[in-house]
């Protein structure tokens, strides 16, 4: 059988990887030590030039399916890992055929939940993780994606202005439909409830969970948060004909939640005295899209919100509310944002993403100002932050050294 590599980005270095060796036995020299979640399959992180790739050994048809699914999800702009390629036709030197490998790009600055919990999470941080997962699930469901294996292990988290953004990592069981029925959504939630509680109970058994954190309550909170968000996004609202301002109000509320309304259905009842509105198509990423348009910065939703707030403050402080927004944004980028992010010494750039550092500097300035009782210039806050705070942060660009376990259920029979 001949080795067959399917990838959107042909890279000859891929051919140098030891494909004729079972993934489990790949020599250390190829591997990057990154934390792995609990996995049913053998997964390894591999260094390939400047990149880190995740390689998963699975059956051929499942590899193809997942590769195509991940590509579709990227196309739909759903936060998920980026598929890199599939390798078929692997044979061991003795002629024994080996399973296919699915290759995805490692998501920079992302953290598996087990790595986050091993840092001794503050309780409110744990809540934010669950919030992020609920938001991800809502976004997937809005796109008609049924996950089939919702779990913390199948999710990666990235810091997003103090909160987290969740990314889908494993689409093996997923199905893409035109839209999901309530039953399909409930099915996913049922899976989520059991998996999340199980994962947290496991952390508790390993001594990584705060004593007072109750796995059941936490997993129930994800479901609750999901329902709240889902209803806010898709719920039907009815009001008197005279209260038309409430249409704008609804749209503003959705924007605040980080969603844009692409289509809104508006009908009047038979008597013509009431208006009924239902958002038909809502799209996540309201703030990050706006920031991208204004500045070209591609960052997380909450980071974008934070940066936009700072941009607004800059506009007000420089008295330029009447100016073209794009021009002010350009100046803010050149005079405020870039000087801050560029001031980070090279050896510390792997600690946090630039946008997250900017967010932290703003936070830091707020604390310094409060302590001092007067406004602190951003330059001063930045100096202090780089000297005192940033060096204490763990390196998160590609997290190393966290011990995790692989637990394939699928093993050889005894």
């Amino acid at each position: 059988m001949t080795l067959e590599i399917t990838t959107a980005r042909p890279e000859s270095a891929l051919l140098d990887l030891p494909w004729s060796t079972p993934l489990e036995e790949w020599p250390e020299s190829y591997l990057a030590a990154l934390p792995r979640g609990i996995s049913r399959h053998v997964v390894r992180f591999v260094k390939l030039g400047p990149r880190v790739l995740a390689v998963k050994e699975i059956k051929d048809d499942i590899a193809d399916r997942e590769y195509a699914m991940l590509r579709n999800l990227r196309r739909l702009d759903v936060p998920s890992v980026e598929p890199f390629g599939v390798v078929h036709g692997r044979t061991a030197p003795d002629g024994e055929p080996l399973d296919a490998c699915l290759i995805t790009r490692h998501l920079q600055f992302s953290l598996p939940y087990r790595a986050l919990y091993s840092q001794n999470l503050r309780p409110d941080t744990a809540v934010r993780l669950m919030d992020a997962l609920a938001v991800l699930l809502v976004r997937l469901h809005l796109e008609g994606f049924w996950w089939g294996d919702v779990s913390l292990s199948n999710t990666l988290f990235r810091r997003d202005a103090g909160a987290f953004a969740a990314y889908l990592v494993d689409a093996e069981t997923g199905e893409l439909h035109a839209r999901l029925s309530d039953g399909q959504r409930e099915h996913d939630l049922d899976i989520a409830r059991v998996n999340i509680a199980g994962e947290l109970m496991d952390l508790a058994a390993g001594g990584f969970l705060e004593e007072h954190a109750d796995p059941f309550e936490v997993s129930a909170s994800v479901i609750e948060r999901y329902h709240t968000l889902w209803n806010a996004l898709t719920g039907t609202e009815r009001f008197e004909l005279g209260d038309r301002w409430r249409v704008d109000e609804r749209i503003r509320r959705l924007n605040e939640l980080g969603f844009d309304v692409d289509e809104l259905s508006m009908t009047t009842d038979i008597g013509g005295t009431e208006i009924v509105i239902t958002p038909k198509v809502v799209d996540a990423g309201h703030h990050s899209r706006r920031l991208l348009r204004l500045t070209g910065l591609d960052v997380g939703e909450n980071q974008a919100r934070r940066l936009l707030n700072d941009l607004d403050a800059y506009t007000a402080a420089t008295d330029r509310q009447g100016d073209d927004e794009e021009i002010v944004a350009h100046d803010w980028l050149a005079k405020i944002y870039e000087p801050v992010t560029r001031a980070v010494p090279r050896e510390l750039t792997g600690r946090l993403e630039p946008a997250e550092i900017f967010h932290e500097v703003l936070e830091h300035r707020w604390y310094m100002s409060e302590r001092a009782g007067h406004d602190t210039p951003i330059e001063e806050a930045l100096r202090d932050y780089v000297a005192t705070v940033l060096p204490t942060k763990p390196e998160e660009k590609s997290v190393v050294g966290v011990d995790t376990e692989e637990m394939p259920v699928i093993g050889r029979f005894d």
């Binding site: 609990i38 409930e186 099915h187 390993g206 259920v409 699928i410």
Partner: protein
């Protein structure tokens, strides 16, 4: 042949399948029916599911009666409605028409929690820091079952799964097979009235799939819990189910024991779908007293052919053919010979002449036959094949329905 000795009990078409294997009467098995002596039959009564915006139902007036303790497999190609049917039974999919009963209880409008069914997911993670017992019982904790009861159920499940000595160990200490059994234990401890399984083997490799298949089937028979199992793989369906229900485009094609399904496919679709290698199907003209297969008359009862028109679809399984010595029968050019020791499979194509006789579109049609492995023809040979007497299937060329028995 697609099914081996693992194949279960033959039951008559349309009747309920075999029930009551082991039912815990000795007290050593699971408390599957504890406090709950009702018969766990399952009835789909004209059950229909139509997604909003879809012009046709995904499941259209499904009628199946599943006996207490029966293992029923729903099988069909992707998009046939099998998973939707299962979700309807689980309460995860709204039923737009008809009813679903578990025992005498109409559960059509009950929430999933109130149905006493357990969905066995295809993906189970084992948690490394938790003991085997906790790995098996944690979902019961979520359901609010008290500690003593959980322990009891876990111990009983462990006994069945040969996991008793490992209950207080961590999964890491277990072999692959034992880990898999822990995952099964997680479903068993819920002791539902009905197990629902949606492609639980789909991400195992071929070897493991065969082993796990047998394990699940034998476990189900020991537990005697009514089980509905969904798969796209007809071999899996035929080897595991007491009965098999074939669906296509949301419509039930046939529901029968594997044997009956194999010997008496109700229509052309089932004939082609069930069996591996697949049945040979060809359109042939009706003649006096039978059908004409390339000058060779295959006898078919006159009354069966009364209203079928000029042509019928004739089906012959690869193992129901024999080489003819006098150059009569179906001419086949051999492309590939697959030697399996006692038998050999011939993969070839029939000549266009056969189809020209029916006036249908001409072209090489693939043809598969099983022959004696000691004297197989060679690649490139032209051979003539005749169906063994009594082993042909006749279908109405228009409707595709089976003609006669």
């Amino acid at each position: 042949m697609v099914f081996g000795p693992a194949m279960g009990h033959d039951v008559d078409a349309c009747s309920l399948g075999q029930a009551h294997l082991y039912n815990g009467s000795s007290g050593t098995f699971l408390p599957v029916k504890e406090g709950n002596e009702a018969m766990a039959t399952v009835t789909f009564d004209n059950a229909t599911r139509q997604y909003p915006g879809n012009p046709i139902p995904s499941v259209d007036k499904l009628n199946i009666e599943i006996a207490d303790g029966e293992f029923l497999v729903l099988v069909g190609p992707s998009g046939c409605g099998k998973s939707t049917s299962l979700r309807m039974l689980a309460g995860l999919e709204e039923v737009n028409g008809g009813r679903i009963l578990i025992g005498d209880r109409d559960v059509t409008n009950l929430s999933p929690k109130d149905r006493d069914v357990a969905m066995v997911f295809q993906n189970y993670a084992l948690y490394p820091h938790m003991t085997v017992a906790d790995n098996m019982g944690f979902a019961l904790k979520i359901a609010g079952v008290d500690k003593a009861e959980i322990r009891k159920r876990v111990e009983e499940a462990a006994k069945i799964l040969d996991l008793t000595p490992y209950l207080d160990r961590k999964p890491k200490a277990l072999s692959g097979g034992q880990r898999q059994r822990v995952a099964m234990g997680r479903a068993i401890v819920r002791s539902p009235q009905v197990f629902l399984m949606d492609e639980p083997l789909s991400n195992l490799d071929a070897k493991l799939r065969v082993q796990t298949r047998t394990q699940i089937a034998s476990l189900q028979r020991r537990l005697g819990v009514t089980t509905v199992y969904v798969t796209h793989d007809q071999v899996e369906a035929m080897t595991m189910g007491d009965r098999v229900a074939v669906l296509k485009d949301g419509i039930l094609q046939q529901c029968d024991s594997p044997r009956r399904m194999y010997d008496h496919p109700a229509n052309v679709f089932v004939a082609g779908f069930i069996g591996s290698p697949a049945m040979n199907l060809m359109e042939v003209p009706v003649t006096d007293g039978g059908v004409d297969l390339h000058g060779h008359t295959v006898p078919v009862a006159r009354e069966d052919l009364a209203n079928v028109g000029k042509n019928v679809t004739l089906g012959v399984r690869p193992e129901d053919l024999e080489l003819s010595s006098d150059q009569s029968g179906i001419p086949v050019t051999v492309d590939v010979v697959e030697e399996l020791g006692a038998d050999a499979y011939i993969y070839g194509s029939t000549e266009q002449k056969l189809l020209e006789a029916t006036g249908e579109n001409a072209g090489a049609v693939p043809f598969i036959a099983r022959v004696d492995g000691r004297r197989p023809p060679e690649k490139g040979d032209k051979i003539y094949l005749k169906p063994k007497s009594g082993h042909v299937h006749v279908f109405n060329a228009e409707s595709g329905l089976r003609v006669g028995d």
